[in-house]
Symmetry: C2
């Protein structure tokens, strides 16, 4: 008889949410871009060649997850990463995947 670590449902839920945030190609592209350079919404949309609306929706999602933050400058909002651990997780995985396949 072995004692397993009991499952903390709330913890598992949080962990899954973190990974879910990183499970979409658009969000990965956004985060990876912001990792390189703070960007406005339009800059992101142009760089990724995607709808401004799509980017806004995903930024809202990332903001609610506290993965990005924004600052205003004139009429623009500049977004940047706001969770170091998650960014490390992402960049680490990109690097590892690149050197594996």
């Amino acid at each position: 008889m072995q004692a397993y670590q009991p499952i903390d449902e709330h913890l598992i839920e949080q962990v899954s949410q973190t990974f879910k945030a990183l499970s979409d190609p658009t969000r990965i592209k956004i985060l990876h871009l912001l990792f390189q350079k703070e960007c406005s919404v339009n800059e992101i949309a142009e760089h990724l060649n995607m709808n401004q609306s799509t980017i806004s929706h995903q930024l809202k999602y990332l903001k609610q997850m506290h993965l990005v933050k924004k600052r205003r400058e004139k009429t623009m909002y500049y977004y940047s990463p706001d969770d170091e651990h998650v960014m490390i997780l992402l960049e680490q995985t990109i690097k590892h995947t690149k050197h594996t396949t």
Copy 2:
């Protein structure tokens, strides 16, 4: 004018698939359990108090992603982790989340 790293669609797709595998509570529980101990399908189902069918489906998913492997013993299949990097990613994030919130 800054030169950004060009986006490798295929790479991003692979990375997102890895995170997607880790974005579901049931799969996290399965992997976390297998991290502690090699288990048969029924052992997993009983431990997690879930349907055998549900577990089988998720194990198939994880197997196709090369995140778990199985070995036969009599009528049973024993599953265990098969991707060290992904397991490190998971355990690291569980640990970090635990100590953060």
